[in-house]
Amino acid sequence: MDGFGGTTLRINLSTEEIERTPTDPEFARSWMGARGFVSKILYDEVPRDADPLGVDNRFIISTGVMTGAFTPVGSKVGFGCISPATNGHADSSMGGHLGPELKYAGYDLIICEGIAAHPSYLYIDDDTVELRPAGDYWGMGSLELEERMKNDLGEDFQIATIGPSGENGIVFSCITHDFGRQAGRCGVGAVMGSKRLKAIAVRGTKSLPVHDLKSHWKLTYDIIQRTKTHPNMAPWQKYGTAFFVGWSNERGCFPTKNFQETYHKDWEKIDGERLVEDCLVSDKACFGCWMNCGKYTRARIPGKPDTYQEGPEYETIALVGGSCAFTDINHVAYANHLLDNIGMDTMSGGSTVAFAMECYQRGFITKDDLEGHELRWGNIDDFEHFVRMIAARRGIGDVFARGTKGAAEAIGQGTIKFASQAKGMEFSGYDTRWYPAQLLSYCTCDIGAHHSKSWTITTDIELGRDTIEGKAAVVIYLQHIRPLFDTWSCCRLFWGELDVTPEEHVETINYMTGWDITLDDCMQVSERVWNLNRAHFMERNGGPGRSHDGAPARHLEEPIPDGPAKGKVVGRENFEAMLDDYYANRGWDKDGNPTREILEELGIGYAADNLEKIGLLGKPIPGGIPKVRGKKLKPKAM
């Protein structure tokens, strides 16, 4: 099948049965890849009462139509499962080289079910697929294990690993690859660990079939030449995402001290310039990317061994650096390495430690809970000790292993107020109190709070930060266009930062596959995925839908104390009004339940049937659903 690897693998980890089937062309066209594939398979296969860390959950590794194929930029691989953090659909992607390698080995999808009898790793060398004993790999750190496996198997294998955190089911465990690329979010690493799958090793040496190679490569070749001189190219190449630390601070949305503040007065000590000047080892790109936003660095702290890591990127600097109030980029980079190697998402991991630091600041936890240690803002030793307590689930570490929501529920005493999370997943590195559309984006996001599905800081600025007018429709548009890149399984930044149009992406897909599709077709796939995930979430967690879209009280009620956004807060009334607007624009009812009309239009009427059975189908909208859902504002992305 042109444009695809051609084969779907189904691996029953319990029985070690491995089944190969040709990827169904109709399925491929309807769901296109990674996020889309994952959405449909999870919906169809996972029992609604399945424990995310149990035998019935699926662990899915998926490439997409653009992966591995001289495109802007098909570097990605997606991981899917029911999330232990949100108990809903999870898809988390990463760049690097694993996705392309899988496709060169001929695989579009690997669906793992069951639980391995012993710790194992998945070995794929073109047509050879084996479940091998993990032996003493089990227990190793992510980065250490990748080095070890490269030595054991050869440099040309691409490796993805989990760390002790994933083995121990910490709900914000990630999957690491290429010494610093992560599928970080939704706890995909915990699910991989629950399957007793320590690592994946892949080598692929086959050619990728492409329908019209000449037109295909010329298009991307021209895009490369055109974007080399784009004004955003140089700063992205030099600083990567860390460039935005100052930008965010100036705009009063940089999480500081667990979102108590939104301006870090020492931001210049932890920004991109400091990173590049003090720590840079080399610039590092994902497969096929000419923008090399990856910064490979060395952290040097007197009295500690030097560490080598990719990053910290913006999100890590925000949620570890700002939110834990560090004032030295070396400390942030060291913390980045610690979390990477132990196998925790630096975003939710950073946020969870920051949340604990606020608990410590306010006396909800004390030295007695911390094995005699403290948990002071900006203290790297305290940070490290606490992270190790979580990873090993020692003492109160076991409580924080559930993330901020789980920990707040366990601690009680109103701490949930300062857990900045939605559906059980922590916010990305942007405060929302002056950015209402961003708050709506987080709270309605199908995987829990994540900017990858909708990022609106510039939209809020453009439409006015003190208004909610017109925000919901733009959020919906972004929730379709941005995840589309996760479905195509390519990097979003070439659209967002270098003005490569979505239409050009579609053109390349048509050359690759021989399809004749339009951007509207793709946007419909994206909307189909969004609605299916919504239905799935409600089928698993009950309803009404609106009950899952609430915002943390801090962002509704607590005005920002200082900095450029001083005094700002969204307000409960505004937030509820945005939700009303959002549901109306989506073709859902006032309770946030999808209607039959929208689900049928998107070709997933079966989801309407299922919602109806449990009494959660949306009431019909008088006058019908909107013809077009979402409104495009000149997009600016990150």
Partner: protein, 127 residues
């Protein structure tokens, strides 16, 4: 004219590998490229592009004289090559590559396409 490799500028993106096989074989398959990016991680944390420098040792060693100097590049003539592998062994910098699906060893013929897609100055054309 030759291709100068600036190792420290390489970011490991492997666009060069892709365009190489596209132009050489009408296929997308980095494993069939005449250039190979070797990562050295976690330490020292750099990428090493491995690319033929047209030294001509392969041509000297070829037992059937199938490698000819054409302009500034040594080129394998597919109809003369017996795929014996002696040149691969003899190559002093290990840049004669092989692939099961390739009829001869894989060697750079200075088409320069890789230098056109490289955006970091790691591969540049010099006189």
């Amino acid at each position: 004219m030759r291709i100068k490799v600036k190792k420290e500028s390489c970011t490991g993106c492997r666009l060069c590998e892709q365009i190489c096989t596209i132009c050489r074989y009408d296929e997308i398959n980095p494993r069939k490229a005449a250039i190979k990016i070797v990562p050295h991680f976690p330490q020292p944390g750099i990428f090493e592009p491995k690319l033929c420098v047209q030294c001509g040792v392969c041509a000297k060693e070829c037992p059937v004289d199938a490698i000819h100097l054409e302009g500034e590049a040594y080129v394998i003539h597919e109809d003369e090559c017996t795929n014996c592998g002696i040149c691969v062994e003899a190559c002093p910098i290990g840049v004669m590559f092989t692939h099961d699906a390739a009829p001869t060893p894989i060697k750079c013929d200075l088409c320069l396409k890789c230098t056109e897609v490289c955006n970091t100055g790691a591969l540049i054309v010099v006189d």
